[in-house]
């Protein structure tokens, strides 16, 4: 093992970690908000919106992110009306496009996950809330959202880790995050295995931290499900 090379590679790759994290956190936030919108369309009664949401979820879950990203970045610019619109100054930026396509994709997945969480809320608990006069936003905020989020959390953790790995595709659109930098190093040194090993360690550590944080969150949100604390036992 050439430790000097590994060390040098690691240093180069670590410099790209902030870019990976920026892509990751922004796309999770934007994607999460978008997912809420989609899931609202999907479960709210309006058939047109619901069909739109279904189509959206189908397309963005069903096709590879690589293709989506390519079409967003290179494809949108092909249309004159976009190129000459007020959006172009934003869409011109590779970083914006990368975040946008990552967010669009994760929104499809997250919407399905959130919907699963909502379905897991006991209809009886919802009825109980209605029976004391809750409805609309209050019902969502106090009963539906907390329970649904708790139910969705395990699946959502998985999705977040998948997103972390998906940021690797951003080098396609000239955003040089960890994997892109690793591939560039490889095409300079041709030492595929060593470089990818370093990259793998970085992703593994990042994902491990995320998963630990998520399971901590999960633990703190599931007091009501844990085994009966001895003090309460009859």
């Amino acid at each position: 093992m050439d430790f000097a090379f590994l060390f040098q590679t690691m240093t180069t790759l670590l410099k790209a970690v902030p870019m990976t994290l920026a892509l990751f956190s922004l796309s999770i936030i934007v994607g999460g908000l978008l997912a809420l919108l989609i899931v609202w369309m999907r479960v709210g009664g309006n058939p047109v919106l619901s069909a739109f949401a279904k189509g959206y979820i189908f397309v963005f879950r069903g096709s590879p992110l690589l293709i989506q990203m390519f079409l967003v970045f290179y494809g949108l610019g092909q249309f004159g009306f976009i190129r000459y619109s007020f959006l172009w100054p934003f869409l011109r930026e590779p970083f914006v496009c990368a975040v946008l396509s990552l967010a669009l994709c994760t929104a499809g997945y997250s919407a399905e996950i959130f919907r699963g969480g909502i379905r897991a809320v006991s209809p009886r608990e919802i009825e109980a809330a209605r029976s004391i006069g809750m409805s609309g936003a209050l019902l969502v905020r106090r009963i539906l959202a907390p329970v649904a989020f708790r139910h969705a959390l395990p699946a959502y953790s998985t999705e977040i880790v998948l997103m972390m790995k998906s940021t690797a595709l951003a080098s396609l659109v000239t955003v040089w995050e960890v994997t892109g930098v690793a591939q560039r190093l490889i095409s300079q040194t041709y030492r595929t295995m060593e470089v990818f090993l370093c990259a793998a360690i970085i992703y593994l550590v990042l994902n491990f931290i995320i998963l630990q944080a998520m399971s901590l969150l999960e633990y703190s949100l599931s007091r009501h499900r844990r085994a009966i604390p001895p003090a309460l036992k009859a």
């Binding site: 109980a128 809330a129 004391i132 499900r225 009859a234």
Partner: protein, 258 residues
């Protein structure tokens, strides 16, 4: 103030698809009335209660709560409440206790009880907590206030559900088979709480299979059959000589198992 009409239902009808479950039911409950609703399975008792607080929308009929009529829009065979705001308000005046408790599993018992007063009635939290503790003591589970529903026995959960409904200071309490999911040992606890409520003058409408409750606690018994009120009267009338043959047959059935 006895004599005030808390709840008045006029000629309620309800169909699911082509199946008419309620065929025109009327009922008045005055202050302090405790009305037992009896009837065979499928006779429409639950549906009736659910129509009153609009968990189902009746196909036809009028509902008045504490003198206020629930406005409905009837259009082309379907009907819906005219104002969600009014529905929420009316519901906050009707306490409902479900057969299956339906406590919110992500909240402690205390949080369950103060949820309505704090977030629906928007009253000060501290005040609500103080009242909740009194209520929990009254139903005998004050020591469980920081436990989650999953950690309570059925009887304790049912009593917590009653406390939750009472915390809204409802004008009328609706109970849907409050004891039938309970072990026989727990039935006693819950019935004791309900009897105490009745003695304090709470207006109650109780769907029940507990004949002893119907006979000893309520002041009126309504017997439903196939979506209609078959007969009604005071417990003495109903369980005495004045019983109709149908009701006599119905209560005869209860004798077998117990």
């Amino acid at each position: 103030m006895p004599g005030v009409t808390r709840l008045s239902v006029r000629n309620i009808r309800k169909s699911f698809g082509t199946h008419e479950v309620l065929k025109g039911i009327s009922l008045d409950a005055e202050d302090g009335d405790v009305i037992s609703l009896l009837g065979a399975s499928g006779s429409g008792k639950s549906t009736f209660l659910r129509c009153i607080n609009l968990l189902e929308t009746a196909t036809d009929g009028e509902i008045w709560v504490d003198g206020e009529q629930i406005r409905m829009i009837h259009k082309g065979g379907t009907s819906r409440p005219a104002s969600q705001k009014q529905v929420d308000h009316i519901r906050s005046e009707l306490g409902m206790v479900f057969q299956s408790f339906n406590l919110w599993s992500h909240m402690t018992i205390l949080q369950n009880v103060i949820e309505g007063p704090v977030h629906v009635l928007k009253r000060p939290r501290a005040e609500c907590i103080a009242e909740a503790e009194v209520l929990l003591k009254k139903v005998g589970i004050a020591d469980k206030r920081h436990a989650y529903p999953a950690h309570l026995s059925g009887g304790q959960q049912q009593r917590a559900a009653i406390a939750r409904a009472l915390a809204m200071k409802p004008k009328v309490m609706l109970f849907d088979e409050p004891t039938s999911a309970l072990d026989p040992e727990l039935v006693g606890e819950v019935l004791r709480v309900m009897r105490a409520l009745a003695e304090e003058g709470m207006t109650m409408l109780v769907v029940t299979h507990e004949m002893s409750f119907a006979r000893n606690v309520s002041n009126r018994v309504v017997f439903m059959k196939e979506g209609l009120v078959e007969s009604s009267g005071t417990p003495d009338e109903m369980f005495g000589g004045a019983a109709t043959p149908a009701f006599r047959q119905f209560i005869g059935h209860f004798g077998t198992g117990q």
